[in-house]
């Protein structure tokens, strides 16, 4: 209980509270403005937290994450454009409600559902993180290697439509991380004798590049083509659903929160998938499915509770196994590491107080988010009126300041630009970005555990099949890849059949 008391003390420190609140507001802003994502917010906030003590830094990161996940609903409802991909499902009914003059109720319902989903998933997370960590504590290098391999395979498979492209992305991330000084053998890798490159590609530098730079380019394109969004709403205020409406939606929110937590705990999935599954579920089990898509409150509350429940779900593999499931949790992992917290089974033995701190900070973040989004909606609406291209100028400056602050290196700033440019070109070539990030994050672990295992077994590769847990993970990896290829072959066959059918029809018509 000592650990809990010290965590409580740390969270109630005024500076920590302020950091959480500031993080939550930054998160809502980045979440609600289309074109700014909360992953970007996290990457830009992280360098600021370097000088903070651990509790304030972690609090600010968690606040940003949670605020970002919730903020996406604001623009989804008011503009019909999701502020983050996770809010895409909210557009369907949320924007219709705005056009029917019920924007206030949609915003209020979204906030309430977000808070519900978030707290629900927090409770599930507290129980399951402990369970998973207890199981994983016996893992040695072989099992961890197998586990990371499995995590990478689900991420590569789920991030894009094509497994090959996902794997290419993952490998690019892994390759980037091998540049620089190898800390096991102490040799320079791929530096070609250029000393400054020994520092390697910093994870955070790469993340700022990958998240922010392509987005600036896209914003400029939209500006040039005059495609930027324009907000017409004014004088909006949030309005909470009535008790009767809440009673009707309670079980729906409960089910969608459970769904979101489950989806969130699978690496490679995340908010958008959870939200669409929840929307589909709500529609299918509704008494009036025909009213979905025409401005039904349940169509807002279902995806919003699910996408916020993802936050707790995603923290389960992150905290107990050290595997981040999406870009946002990957940045968080980077932040935890910088402040000396190494997520994984040992976290619960070594840093019990910090684990409680994380739980409490998530709770405080949700309270902050609900309060600010309910009462401060006008402020956020005003922010949506700032033209995105001017906001892009600010982001551009923050990219420079943030990457320099990471380790006071000008080379890092150039590297950020380079990674960002490559990221944009890859995105245009339909290579998904998420696996690159996960490759960057998990690469060092993957290699370290692999090499440690080989050293421990004195060079015998048989060691990788010596543990049942590892073999199970390999089997799951092969299963994921096989399942994916099966799906792709089936899709290809469908396309071919459809094409043949179309050709036959055309020939018939001729």
């Amino acid at each position: 209980m000592d650990a809990f008391a010290s965590a409580l003390g740390a969270v109630s420190d005024p500076f920590t509270l302020l950091a959480i609140v500031a993080g939550a507001i930054i998160g809502i802003v980045f979440g609600s403005v289309p074109g700014l994502t909360y992953s970007m917010a996290l990457a830009l906030v992280l360098p600021i937290t370097f000088k903070f003590d651990t509790s304030a830094a972690i609090g600010m990161l968690l606040g940003t994450y949670i605020g970002g996940m919730t903020g996406g609903s604001v623009s989804a409802i008011l503009l019909g454009i999701p502020g983050t991909p996770s809010a895409a499902a909210t557009v369907l009914d949320g924007y219709k409600m705005t056009r029917n003059g019920r924007a206030g109720l949609a915003l209020g319902g979204a906030v309430l559902a977000s808070g519900f989903g978030g707290i629900f998933s927090l409770l599930v997370m507290i129980v399951s993180v402990d369970l998973v960590a207890r199981l994983a504590i016996q893992f040695g290098p072989v099992e961890i290697f197998a586990l990371v391999l499995f995590g990478m395979s689900t991420i590569c498979g789920l991030a894009g439509k094509s497994l090959v492209r996902g794997m290419i992305a993952g490998i690019i991330g892994l390759l980037l991380m091998t540049i620089g000084l190898d800390d096991m053998d102490g040799v320079a890798r791929m530096t070609f004798g250029w000393t400054p490159l020994l520092q390697g590609v910093d994870l955070l530098v790469a993340m700022v590049g990958l998240f922010a730079v392509p987005q600036i380019m896209k914003t400029l394109i939209d500006y040039k083509l005059d495609r930027a969004f324009k907000l017409n709403a004014s004088g909006v205020r949030s309005e909470l659903p009535t008790l009767k409406q809440l009673r009707n939606s309670f079980w729906l929110m409960f089910r969608c929160s459970a769904l979101g937590t489950a989806v969130g705990s699978i690496p490679g999935t995340g908010g958008p998938i959870a939200a669409f599954l929840a929307y589909d579920h709500a529609k299918r089990f509704s008494k009036e499915p025909e009213r979905f898509g025409k401005g039904k409150l349940d169509g807002v509350m279902a995806p919003e509770s699910a996408n916020n429940a993802v936050t707790g779900g995603a923290m389960i593999p992150l905290l107990s196994l050290g595997i981040p499931g999406d870009p946002a949790t990957a940045v968080m992992l980077g932040g935890f590491l910088i402040h000396g917290l190494v997520p994984g089974p040992m976290l619960f033995t070594n840093n019990k107080a910090e684990v409680y701190l994380i739980y409490l900070a998530i709770f405080v973040s949700y309270v902050t988010v609900v309060v600010f989004q309910y009462f401060g909606i006008r402020g956020f609406v005003k922010l949506l009126k700032v033209p995105p291209h001017l906001m892009a100028v600010g982001i551009l400056i923050m990219c420079g300041v943030g990457t320099f602050a990471i380790r006071n290196s000008f080379l890092d700033v150039y590297m950020m630009v380079g990674v960002g440019l490559i990221g944009y070109l890859l995105m245009r070539a339909r290579i998904p970005i998420t696996p690159i990030i996960l490759g960057l994050v998990l690469g060092p672990t993957l290699e370290r555990e692999f090499r440690t295992a080989v050293i421990m077994s004195e060079g015998s590769f048989g060691v990788f099949f010596s543990s049942t847990a590892a073999v199970v993970f390999y089997a799951m990896t092969i299963g994921v890849i096989g399942f994916h290829f099966y799906g792709q072959m089936r899709d290809a066959k469908k396309t071919r059949d459809a094409a043949n059918g179309k050709n036959a029809q055309q020939q018939g018509a001729n």
Partner: protein
């Protein structure tokens, strides 16, 4: 132009990159001293080879004749004129590289004010003096006060000239 052309380009570039990478690994990273363990070379080399293999798959897939244009192909070639896209890429990269160089030589304050003014005026083409002045002074002063003073973030000093930072 067939819809498969981007994939041929992608596959070729990736294949060349992986070949160069493997060459770089073999030429610069020493192998393990004894055969008993995996040295610093094994991992990057294995990954390079894997990338080569995957890019070959992309190439092979793209050489197969495409029966119909799928929705996927249309998504890959969205309705963006090449000129606008090239402009956006050049503007972003140019501003960021210019900012990095200015940060190094003139320090945070001057660099930020100049780059913001350049971004709003010449790049975006919004020639409103009040907006340009407001944004460049506001952003550089605001970040200096909040980040540099309040939060203790290290802002770069210039090698040639300086204004506080």
């Amino acid at each position: 132009m067939t819809s498969r052309r981007p994939d041929i380009i992608l596959g070729t570039i990736l294949l060349v990159v992986s070949a160069l990478w493997c060459w770089g690994v073999l030429a610069t990273i020493p192998g393990a001293e004894d055969g008993s363990r995996l040295g610093a070379r094994g991992f990057p080399l294995g990954l390079g080879l894997l990338l080569g293999g995957l890019s070959l798959i992309i190439l092979l897939q793209s050489l197969r004749p495409a029966p119909v244009k799928t929705i996927d192909d249309e998504a890959a070639a969205p309705d963006i004129s090449r000129g606008v896209e090239a402009w956006a890429i050049a503007a972003t990269v140019g501003l960021l590289v210019g900012y990095a160089a200015l940060l190094e030589y003139t320090g945070f304050m001057i660099a930020t004010a100049l780059v913001v003014a350049a971004a709003v005026g010449p790049v975006l083409g919004i020639w409103r003096p009040k907006l340009i002045l407001g944004m460049s002074v506001g952003l550089s002063l605001g970040i200096y006060l909040i980040f540099g003073k309040l939060l203790g973030v290290y802002l770069p000093y210039g090698k040639l000239i300086n204004l506080a930072f």
